[in-house]
Symmetry: C2
Subunit: 341 residues, 2 copies
């Protein structure tokens, strides 16, 4: 990590977490049962609502928002409410996703619905959604002009609708065959990329950047999100077990419909035939990977990832970021896209 | 119904429904599966996503918002986005409440989760929550100044947090004994009254009313909501079966913890003893009602309802509404509070 990224991210993320604690009313005293569930999910308290320290996740989205604001000529501290809103929104979506996917654990801890039940977890997610909006409205208190705040809120909610459309498609795909590559790309754009895009866009808007620059930052974030997700799909099949920490070819074993698999099902009769099988033993995995390689699924997916990566860097450059934040932004993008774990 | 209320409500609700259809993208064509679920809940299509006409509920909240805007000296058409937002928000909360309460039907139709499953229904509710916010942001397009839009959005989300706190408490109460009258009042304030209050408050804010008048309209709505809910609790026990359309004393048969019952449990050892029983046969019902009458639970609840009703009318008067909308507002309040069904 370059010294720019390291220094800036430490300062920015410390301020971000303070802002989130303020929005989510984390005072000195023990939270009530309502805020307690929220603080549990954020990793601030344990199941008994006693203070703990839990790794909060990478917080890439808020960091992108703050760095973009600075790189676009703004004061990153003015963007703190938007960065907090994006991170709280992301966490809200995890609470509901965990129910929808019936996931018992997240980041090594029990999920909210596992402890307090589905009913309370749905409702607490809703509260976090509302609180994310309240975080946004604090932009006004930071001196951001009201018309920019309204515009930012509108983009925030347009993005929320896209997120739910992505999640709708994702759940729909699990239940049906014949999902196309195009449908899949639209789904990951909604489910993953639009929120990364929003983070960069709002940073630029709050900096008061011109619409051309705002559009470049938004596209930079969008293609970064897409590249990241497509690379994730590659790692899920061809990733190095020692580096990813997951068993190799997890996505084949679980028959997950990721980009290479969908491409393969469109282009390889052998893979289609193989995927009618119920068992996914070692033999299944090795055959599937062979079919994917033969029909060009890996090459296709890698070329997609490269195209999005390049697009992301191109738009970042076109946005003409400046100062230490520009270097940090470039470094962060590199880190996210060069990953092999 | 007076001619003022009838004329105004017909015009206003027609415009409201047009605004909602525009926000929720109800075009000529059949909706996709994502918007289709939303349109189903709104009563615009059936399960096969074909157009139908279903009674949309009373739409009291948006009507209050529009009437208040007009009565406070504004142009009610400018408040249409806020009225639509409030009605969509209310409908979002019904979608999630139906899951949380495991309700199979609403307004004589299957609930969303019954048809499309809990996972999709949670997600579609989230989409409606986001769309309610997008409805709000259209205030700007109606010429409402940006600072008022930001303030209105902030109040909107503060109200959403209160709604989820009310729902949290309501679900919590079902699982424990010893709920106090004070806790119950705080719960119904969150679950019912704050949204009625918001409707009136936003109407006044959009009209550009002064803070004193805004506060009176907000308090008028709050006490109206409380009075309505407390009266509902009375009807749930002492309501006339022929008028309510429900079997008499439903809330006793289901042992629902409404205001008279909680007051009774605090003040009558006999009722506490009776409520340890598991069966709720006819004998149980008649004994319970007798204990409630004896300990003064009915008188207490009726005095509460009267106090809130009077408070509501007092604040409406203090807000100094004018014109035909003022008459209609008065008439609507009367209708809601004089009800015996």
């Amino acid at each position: 990590m370059s010294s720019e990224l390291k220094t800036l991210s430490q300062t920015m993320l410390a301020a971000l977490n303070e802002e989130m604690r303020s929005v989510l009313q984390s005072g000195e005293e023990q939270p009530d049962s309502f805020y307690g569930m929220i603080h549990y999910h954020m990793g601030w308290v344990n199941e008994q609502l006693q203070p703990v320290q839990v790794y909060p996740g990478k917080q890439i989205r808020p960091l992108l928002c703050l760095l973009t604001c600075q790189a676009a000529g703004g004061d990153w501290q003015q963007a703190l409410p938007a960065a907090a809103a994006i991170e709280i929104l992301h966490n809200f979506s995890l609470v509901h996703d965990d129910i929808e996917d019936a996931s018992p654990t997240r980041r090594g801890r029990q999920t909210m619905w596992q402890i307090w039940g589905i009913e309370q977890a749905i409702n607490t997610g809703d509260a976090m959604f509302a609180l994310a909006h309240l975080a946004m409205s604090r932009l006004l208190d930071c001196g951001v002009p009201a018309p920019i705040v309204v515009q930012a809120l509108r983009r925030f909610d347009e993005t929320c609708v896209r997120l739910t459309q992505g999640q709708h498609a994702d759940m729909d795909f699990e239940k049906r065959d014949g999902v196309t590559v195009a449908e899949y790309m639209a789904m990951i754009e909604g489910k993953t990329a639009v929120l990364v895009s929003l983070a960069a866009e709002l940073g630029a808007r709050i900096a008061g950047a011109e619409e051309t620059a705002v559009a470049h930052y938004a596209q930079f974030g969008l293609e970064l999100g897409l590249a990241f997700q497509v690379k994730d799909d590659i790692l899920g099949i061809w990733g190095d077990e020692a580096l990813t920490g997951k068993s190799a070819a997890t996505d084949i074993t679980t028959k997950k419909k990721t980009l290479p698999v969908l491409y393969g099902l469109e282009h390889s009769a052998e893979l289609r035939q193989l995927y009618t099988q119920n068992s996914t033993d070692e033999n299944f995995v090795s055959q599937a990977i062979q079919h994917l390689d033969t029909c060009g699924a890996r090459a296709f997916t890698e070329s997609k990832a490269s195209a999005y990566s390049e697009g992301s860097f191109d738009h970042l450059q076109a946005a003409q970021p400046h100062g230490a934040a520009a270097l940090a932004l470039h470094e962060l993008t590199n880190m996210l896209l060069q990953r092999n774990s």
